[in-house]
């Protein structure tokens, strides 16, 4: 057995030597062919022949930076290859299509025929009573809630509200969080001031702000969005700041500073690309996070008033009824939408972050 193995190994080795030998022979042949090509020497030419050569061949061509770079040019684009890599992930591809479909449907739904109004309280035409806690049926697809409102319409209206809240808050977190976080981490003179500002703002309870804001304005989607935006950027900024602190004194940034790059260039070209994956994951979590926050605010009694449906107040209304198995559908439908949105954003965000590393692109 061992003998056979040895023979096999030897065979392989010999074949390799043969290959190498062949390779050397080819190389020698090429070299020979090169030698047989005609050789040019100034001594073989007469003075007239040399003078006849067009003088333009002896002019210096000059140096053009763009032309010099041309050999190094490739049509690589960071974002294009990130998206290409991202699109290769099948689960993320399916989820992003489904997510867009769900969001689009939430906005199209009120325009469809035969839809109930999310706030109208439906009465039984025969008895004139409220259609309370009606189980899902052909007329009310998701049933009705405790005061007879159509749950199907409410779930979609709630999805609209919550998606708007989520997108606005996530966008504001992204913009303010990244800009402030970058400045906080990189610019030393701002570090102290921003740390103290963070310490002050992050320690004012959001409950107090919400109560005061709703004391001045009426509690609504706008007040929720304003208070979430006021608080939300800080988590992102701290995140970015920590990352910048880790990378800011690395050698490549020191080299860049020595070459005279401006702060803005270092931040945008050296530091930001390093953090795309972290920023993407944090942002994609911010949207379901905002929806979760809204559920929490409803839980402590400071959420959007029930006259405007939101996933927060629908889930909270359903949660109270969770123990009654006949009414559990009132929790299941809104919770399913929240669950889908959260999972979709989490997996899409993760896939995008995985794709964002340029070293995986080639």
């Amino acid at each position: 057995m061992a003998d056979k193995k040895k023979k096999l190994l030897f065979n392989r080795q010999m074949r390799r030597i043969d290959e190498l030998d062949q390779h050397i022979q080819e190389g020698l042949a090429l070299e020979q062919a090169d030698k047989e090509l005609p050789m040019y020497d100034a001594a073989d030419y007469t003075a007239e022949q040399i003078a006849a050569i067009d003088p333009k061949w002896f002019e210096p061509h000059g140096f053009n930076e763009q032309d010099a770079e041309r050999t190094a040019y490739s049509n690589y684009s960071y974002w294009a290859s990130t998206f290409k890599n991202f699109w290769r992930n099948r689960a993320a591809r399916i989820l992003i299509v489904a997510l867009i479909a769900i969001i689009a449907f939430a906005f199209i739904q009120p325009l469809l025929p035969n839809q109930h109004d999310p706030v109208t309280i439906n009465n039984d035409p025969e008895t004139g009573m409220h259609l309370r806690n009606l189980a899902p049926c052909s007329e009310y697809w998701f049933g009705t809630n405790a005061i007879g409102q159509d749950l199907w319409a409410r779930v979609w209206a709630g999805t609209r509200t919550s998606i708007i809240i989520g997108l606005v808050v996530a966008l504001s977190d992204l913009i303010f969080g990244v800009i402030i976080g970058m400045a906080w981490g990189y610019v030393r003179s701002l570090d102290k001031a921003l740390t103290e500002i963070y310490n002050v703002i992050s320690n004012i309870p959001q409950t107090l702000i919400l109560i005061l804001v709703s004391y001045i304005l009426r509690p609504s989607m706008t007040t929720i969005i304003i208070s979430m935006c006021m608080v939300g950027w800080m988590a992102m900024a701290r995140f970015i700041r920590n990352q910048v602190v880790i990378f800011r004194d690395r050698d490549y940034n020191l080299a860049s500073r020595c070459l005279g790059s401006s702060t803005l260039r270092i931040v945008v070209k050296n530091l930001l690309p390093q953090m795309v994956s972290v920023i993407m994951l944090q942002t994609s979590l911010a949207i379901p996070g905002a929806i979760g926050d809204e559920v929490f605010l409803t839980y402590i009694g400071l959420g959007i008033p029930t006259s405007q449906a939101s996933l927060g107040n629908l889930v909270e209304a359903g949660r109270v009824l969770m123990m009654d198995s006949t009414l559990r559908y009132q929790l299941v439908f809104p919770a399913a939408v929240v669950a889908f949105i959260t999972i979709a954003f989490y997996i899409i965000g993760n896939a995008f972050s995985d794709a964002a590393d340029p070293k995986n692109h080639v």
Partner: protein, 314 residues
């Protein structure tokens, strides 16, 4: 470094001062009706005036502020107004904080022990079965709204495993579910971020060098990648440990734990100003200390990080 620490401490004290003053002023903007509770309509003008005078609310705001700071510097957090009338705040907190602290610290240790290795394993086997399983677990836990998930855990786990629905400080079996519920969420976030940071580090040049040297895959992962990936996590650790005394609202409501969970929200809604001020003072001190200790820890773990000015400035 010492100079930096002193400067940061001075900054922290100023921040604390600003927070407290700001909260004091914001609280004085709250509606006056809130101070009388449900019996507002039944009270006569004189009674109301005397109730306000008793709390010092009839004085101008700067006098109130001065009095507040005077007693604060004497080490007196004051007495509760409405939450538990005329009861010293220190005594209220003395009873409540140990519960939240114990539960919080235990669940934090537990979730660190489970969550960080989970994330590391997910990163080690990226795209393989272990990663997919972990992603599915995180997605499911994150997907359900927290309030629903917690209620679900309480109701179904207590019936499946024959555990008590409510918390009892003497019966340690009842500690399991609250701790497990808190841990579940933080396990997910630790695992998620550990995976992210490790994957961001996997393609770095130092990993390639180690591989070229012939270091084994697991050793690279746990000796080199893990250490680098842990640095950004470390910034949040001291803060998370300290802020366990703030408690968890959902859990403490569900299991009737007499902790600090919803204390701040409750006293804000009750407009118990002295309580709010005391709590904000404590929580702010914790938050600021957490931030500062996080920076120090990060600089200790990764010697390339420096907060001290080294000649070049930007």
């Amino acid at each position: 470094m010492l100079e930096y620490i002193l400067k940061r401490t001075a900054g922290a004290i100023i921040s604390l001062f600003v927070v407290i003053t700001l909260i004091f002023v914001l609280l004085r903007l709250m509606p006056m009706e809130g101070y009388f509770g449900a019996e507002y309509d039944k009270l006569s003008e004189e009674v109301r005036a005397s109730m306000l005078a008793e709390k010092g609310l009839d004085q101008p705001i700067y006098v109130q502020l001065f009095n507040f700071y005077k007693s604060l510097f004497q080490g007196d957090l004051g007495k509760s107004w409405i939450y538990r009338p005329n009861y010293p705040i220190v005594k209220i907190l003395e009873k409540k904080i140990p519960y939240s602290l114990k539960i919080g610290v235990i669940s934090m240790i537990f979730s660190l022990i489970v969550g960080i290795p989970l994330g590391a394993v997910m990163a080690r086997f990226k795209g393989k079965f272990a990663d997919k399983l972990g992603t599915a677990f995180i997605a499911i836990v994150e997907a359900l709204p927290t309030a629903v998930l917690m209620l679900f855990l309480q109701l179904f786990f207590s019936s499946w495993f024959n555990l008590s629905l409510l918390f009892d400080k003497n019966n340690y079996a009842t500690w399991v579910l609250p701790i497990f519920s808190i841990s579940l969420l933080s396990i997910c976030s630790y695992a998620m971020w550990m995976r992210r940071y490790m994957i961001d580090n996997i393609n770095m040049d130092y990993v390639k060098l180690a591989r070229a040297k012939g270091v084994s895959g697991s050793r690279i992962m746990f000796r080199h990648v893990f250490k680098n990936a842990f640095v950004p996590m470390a910034q949040f650790l001291p803060g998370s440990v300290l802020s366990t005394i703030i408690g968890s609202i959902y859990i403490e409501h569900l299991y009737s734990i007499p902790g600090t969970g919803s204390l701040l929200i409750d006293v804000i809604q009750l407009q118990d100003n002295t309580m709010v001020q005391a709590l904000v003072l404590i929580y702010a001190a914790i938050g600021i200390a957490g931030m500062f200790l996080g920076d120090v820890l990060m600089a200790l773990i990764d010697p390339r990080i420096s907060f001290v000015k080294k000649g070049d400035d930007r």
